[in-house]
Each structure stands twice: as C-alpha cells, then as structure tokens.
C-alpha cells in the first residue's frame, strides 16, 4: 500500500470509502492517479463480521450523535438515529442488501414529467438515462448484478415464495428474485451466495459486492492508494483563489493532520457530506463551501419507505437466505391516476428477532405486541422503496449548540413527509397487504420506516449554479477542484435503491476527473 506525504499536493483526496468514494478511489488509481482515501471507520474484514444484529450494529453502524426534527416518526422513536449507515472501510456497502436497479428514464426528468407539485422542490437531472446507460452497464459488470451480463438470478427463499405467490394472485407480473449484487455463481474472485441470511451484517461469504473486498484491494494493488482508516475529516481548506488546498483530519488518537490535495472528492453519505461543507465555512465562504446556491444540506431525501409484515398459519422462516430476496416492479412507473407522482418497488425483507422487536412497532409494548412476535417464524416481510419529493425544508443543518468531540457542530436532520410521500406510502401499504392476504395471511402489520438507509440529495446536481450544488459531473459549481461523489448528488431520488446509480456516477466521475487532470484543467 502506498504512503503519500501530507505535503504532497499532487494527490486526490477522497473522503469516504463506500459505494461512491471506494469506487471512485479505485477507478482513479486504475488510471494512474495517486489517491489518499480518508475513512472515518476501522477496517473490519469479512472474518470480523458477526451474524448477530445488535453486535454487528455496534461494530459497523455510524453512531456519532445526531439530532432530528420534523414530523417523521423517526424523530420520536429514534431521535438520535436518523440514518442507518456505516462507519467502517467499505461504508454502507458492507451493510447494503445488494439491490441494483437502474433508474427509469423518466425519473431523470422528474420536474418535466411530474409537473409542478406544490411544496416539492423538483428539478430535472442535467443528465439523462442515455448518458448514464453505458456507466450503468459497467457498474453492473463491476458489481456482478444478477440478471445482467448473463448472470443468472438468485434462488428465491421462503420469504420470496410467500411474496411471489401473493403477488401473482393479485395480478402482478414483474416479480422475480431481483437484480442483486450478490453472486449467484462464483464470479470476479467472489464466491456464490450461501443463503446465510445476514446480508445487513456484512456478508460472511463475500458473495455480496462491497468496496471493502473489491474496489479497495484492487486500488491497493496498483500501489497508488493510501488508505487511512479512523481518519475523520474535520474541514476542507481553500486558498485565496477559491480553490481547495487539502483536508484537515483527525487520526485515531485525535491528532490533527492536514493532507494537501490537488483536488478533493467528498463521499461521506448525504448527512456527513453537507455537514463537512458547512463546517468548512470561511470568511470567503461564510455559508459553507460550494454553497452559493444555498442548497447544501437541503432537499434531503430518504425514499418513501415502510414495511409490511404478515403472519401466516404455517411456518415461513423468513430470515433464512438473502435478506432482499425478490421484487415486485409493477408499481415502479409514474401513473398519476394512483393519486401520487412517481412510483415504488416492493422488495422482500427480513429482520432477525432482536431487530424485529425493535422495529416492528417502535415503542410498542404489552400483550398485543408480544403476541405478534410469538409468530416470528410464521412471518413474511417486505420493504417499500419509492420516490420521495425533494423539499427545501427537509435539510441537514448544523446543530446550534451541540458539538462533537472535535468541537464541531453535530448534524440535525429535519424531515417532514410531503403529501405525495404519504399518498404513495398508503398505496404501497395497501398493495403489500393485498399480496399477503392473497397468500393467506392471518394478520398483516404495517411497519413505519426504519432509520434511513438511502440518504440522498443534499448537494444536488443541476446545470444551473443557482439551484444546485454540483454540475453534471459532480463538480461543485463554486470550486473547480471540489467534487461530490456520493448520493448527495442526486437531483431526485427515483424509486430504485440508489447504490447502482452512485457507482455508475462514480465511474463516470473518475473519467471526468482523469480527463480534466490530464488536460490541466484542475
């Protein structure tokens, strides 16, 4: 592994080693570019993962204190846990379920297609589907997405069997075991799925794609990656010319270092990314870096989610096998006659008993609740993931008084559902209920959203500097050598799980950066 000097101002500093940062770092290294990759978490390898929900949560999750506000139920049930993301090498690719769906073409043009929706800060992406399609193709090959590149689908588990039968009986047709970045056959040095059932806790087989054991070792093998773990980025510095000069970070012992950089790419997930820009405010940029639009931290999206679980007369054992084992795609399109704009996917999901007790009905107690849990092994589960409306007031902001151990303001995450989000969720709850009732459910449970796993939109992409933070390549409008490389870039959220799009954008961004560097533009 490479070691670059703190004073080496020829390196690219990438902050965050997840889907965006980990992929970008590798792609840059493959092109001969030196990269310092700062990761706040430790390097937990596959052997360290544990098949235990809470133990794994405390091993991998981002647990730094955050606060919440707004009318979302998370603010009441999990006031200091707005998001369920990871602080570890590999970021949230260690935890993700593996669903790898392309956006639908119309979803890049949400404002044009959906029209004016009161209260929604909709915008078209500056890019369209065709522009991203070749990068989607490369991302699918990189991740080994099933049902692409002649890779067979995964076998469905018991949870899928219930889901499939119900879905077919109510008339859905686009139902299968999904497009998953989980090997159904050995491929690219990764083995095939062993149906372990702990996808969220880090795949012990290494069958699921994670930057931890794909992109990062590949980048290290080039001799051009300097990965620094337990390195917490505190501040991005700039010069009088308005160019960023490097990143101030703290190491595991709390010692602060300044790494010089030719350019800086921020991929800290959509809560920490805007927080870092806001915490880097200076006399020249009093509202935070790259924030002339005032949009840094705004338009926070988390997908319209929720879950439907159901108890059956006979056993299901939903926890056996892949956590996200199948999908219904029939509701993903934009059909405003349903009473809302955009669409949603239904994807099977299971939780172990410890997490189901915490999330089935947060805060609930008493016999009515415990009776549900007594049917644990007779339950099936699915997750709703749909497009939510960007709203300017849904925002990541700096807490006015609370500070982290480095003296920096912690983030507050404010979220209110848009009426469109509510209408979609209600529709999806009804759809999920119909599916399970058709499969013979004795009881159906509508479960509120978990802490957010899909955090998006807080540095959104627009061709116009006045209404977006980054341009079509993720380069900030205000500072030419500062890039955003994670889901913060998303102009709108679409109905699909975001990782594949984050990876496709990162591959594309690496080409842009390499071209700009070779032409001396940055």
């Amino acid at each position: 592994m490479a070691r670059f000097e703190l004073s080496d101002d020829s390196v690219v500093v990438v902050i965050g080693s997840g889907a965006g940062g980990g992929t970008l770092a590798n792609e840059l290294c493959q092109k001969g570019i030196k990269v310092v990759l700062l990761e706040a978490g430790k390097r937990h390898e596959i052997r360290d993962f544990v098949n235990n929900e809470w133990d794994s949560f405390f091993q991998l999750a981002w647990l730094d204190k955050r606060t919440t506000s707004g009318s979302w139920r998370i603010a009441r049930d999990f006031p200091n846990l707005p998001a369920w993301t990871c602080k570890t090498v590999g970021g949230t690719t260690v935890h993700w379920a593996g669903a790898s769906l392309r956006f639908q073409p119309h979803e890049f043009k949400a404002k044009s297609v959906y029209g004016d929706i009161p209260g929604a800060n909709l915008l078209d992406w500056p890019i369209d589907y065709d522009e991203l399609a070749p990068f989607y193709d490369r991302a699918e090959d990189k991740l080994g997405v099933t049902r692409t590149h002649d890779i067979p689908g995964l076998p469905g588990n018991n949870n899928f069997k219930v889901f499939y039968n119900g879905a077919i009986r109510v008339g859905y047709g686009k139902v299968h075991t999904g497009r998953m970045a989980i090997n159904s056959r050995p491929r690219h040095d990764r083995p095939s799925c062993q149906q372990i059932g702990f996808c969220f806790q880090g795949c012990k087989a290494g069958a699921k794609w994670s930057t931890l054991y794909t992109e990062i070792p590949a980048a290290e093998a080039t001799g051009r990656l300097d990965l620094r773990t337990e390195a917490t980025a505190l501040r991005i510095e700039h010069n009088a010319a308005g160019k960023v000069t490097g990143v101030l970070y703290a190491d595991a012992e709390g010692r602060q270092h300044f790494q010089k950089a030719r350019l800086v790419c921020v991929a800290c997930n959509a809560i920490e990314t805007p927080r870092l820009l806001l915490n880097s405010a200076s006399s020249q940029f009093p509202d935070g870096l790259a924030n002339s639009s005032g949009q840094v931290g705004r338009n926070y999206m988390r997908h319209t989610t929720g879950s439907v679980y159901a108890a059956f007369d006979q056993p299901v054992h939903m926890y056996r096998g892949t956590t996200m084992a199948g999908i219904v795609m029939d509701e993903a399109g934009h059909r405003p006659e349903r009473g809302f704009a955009g669409g949603y996917e239904l994807e099977t999901l299971s939780l172990g008993l410890p997490f189901l007790a915490a999330f089935l009905d947060p805060g609930a107690w008493g016999r009515a609740f415990t009776r549900k849990l007594e049917f644990y092994d007779h339950m099936a589960g699915m997750w709703i993931v749909g497009e939510d409306m960007p709203q300017e007031t849904n925002a990541v902001t700096l807490h006015p008084t609370e500070k982290d151990p480095f003296g920096l303001p912690i983030p507050n995450v404010h979220f209110d559902d848009h009426p469109n989000d509510i209408a979609m969720r209600e529709h999806a709850y009804r759809a999920g209920r119909r599916i399970y009732e058709a499969a013979g459910a004795r009881e159906v449970y509508e479960v509120p959203p978990y802490p957010s796993t899909h955090n998006l939109g807080t540095c959104r992409m627009s061709d116009k500097p006045r209404d977006g933070v980054v341009n079509r390549f993720g380069q900030t409008h205000d500072i030419a050598n500062l890039f955003i490389s994670d889901g913060s870039q998303f102009t709108t959220g679409a109905a699909e799980n975001p990782t594949l799009t984050i990876v496709a954008l990162a591959i594309r961004q690496a080409e842009t950066i390499a071209g700009m560097m070779s032409r001396g533009e940055i």
């Binding site: 098949n51 067979p152 076998p155 039968n165 075991t177 083995p191 056996r320 096998g321």
Partner: protein, 185 residues
C-alpha cells in the same frame, strides 16, 4: 461468586418464577428454588429488583417464558445504575412512582392494573429507560431465540443453502425463470 451459576439443561426446562434471596453478605440475588441459576444485583435493593422484574414482564409479557429471562433485563439495568448515578436515581424514583400510583406496591397489582399504571407513565424517561432496556436485552437473549423459532448465527453451519432456505411446502414453488435453481458449487 461467578456472575451466572447455571445448569443449562435445567435452565432451559424451567418456566417457573424466580425468587429473590438476600445473602448473608447483604447481596440481593435472583435465583430459583433449585438454585440452578443466580443473578446478583450491585445497586438495586430487593424491592427495586422485584418491582423492575414485574415491570419488565408487564411490558413484554410472554406467558410461556420464565422470570429468569426477564431477570436478565433487571441485571442490565442494575449494571447501568452502577455505572451512572443518574440512572440509579431514575430507577429508584421510578420504582417509588410505580408503587405510589395506586397506593399499593406495583408488584401486588393485577396484570391489568399494572398495564394501566404503565400506560400512564408512557413517554416518561423512567418508562423509556426500562422499556428500551427490555426490548434490547430480552429479545437479544440467544437462549430465547429458539423459543421464537429464530435460529441466530448461520454462517458457521454454511448458511441455509442446504438447510431449508426454500423448504416452505404450503405454497407452490415459483417457476425457474423468476427463481432459478440454487448453485451448490
């Protein structure tokens, strides 16, 4: 004294009630008549421990599960109280309020009245502390998982690839184009 003294086979067979014993040294322990297990309190007194045990069971009642599993929650609360005086005070005051609610010790109330008293405290920091600890420690007990039909860690057994991940027999199997055959290597 070891933290747990238990005979696993007897432990799993029991569904009885725990008893509280104050040892000669003045220490409060949960045990059972056969002394097959024991959990010692460091901070909570006998009445406090007994009341929190009753509260934990009233919050997450499972009639077929013995008190010793709920005692694990009380042990965890006791440990928190030892580490943090604010928690110790919160629990002490909370127990007093549970008792004051009806003018009869909480442990002497009927299950229905216990539920009513707890409902009146919902949202209160004491209630939230005990509820949070209960939902975490009670359902995170591996010895209970089998009772609920949850099998826990699977990778050491090779996952479920050959152990029933698609053994559900009461619905038709999906066709191979939507759910291809498993790959066994």
């Amino acid at each position: 004294m070891p933290k747990y003294i238990l005979d696993r086979r007897r432990f799993l067979r029991r569904t009885g009630e725990v008893v509280l014993v104050v040892t000669a040294a003045g220490r409060v322990i949960f045990t059972d008549p056969g002394r097959s297990f024991a959990i010692a309190m460091e901070v909570l007194d006998e009445h406090g421990a007994r009341t929190l045990l009753a509260m934990t069971r009233a919050l997450y009642p499972h009639p077929s599960i013995g008190d010793e599993y709920y005692a694990v929650v009380v042990e965890a609360l006791d440990a928190e109280a030892k580490a943090d005086a604010a928690v110790a005070n919160l629990l002490k005051d909370g127990v007093a309020r549970l008792d004051a609610a009806k003018g009869v010790p909480f442990v002497a109330l009927s299950p229905g009245t216990q539920e009513e008293v707890l409902a009146s405290l919902e949202g209160d920091p004491f209630f939230q502390k005990v509820r949070g600890a209960s939902v975490f420690h009670f359902y995170n007990n591996k010895l209970l998982w089998r009772h609920f039909g949850y099998e826990g860690s699977s990778f050491e057994y090779g996952g479920y690839l050959r152990r029933g991940f698609q053994d559900l027999g009461w619905l038709p199997d999906p066709p191979p184009e939507v759910s291809p055959e498993p790959y066994f290597g």
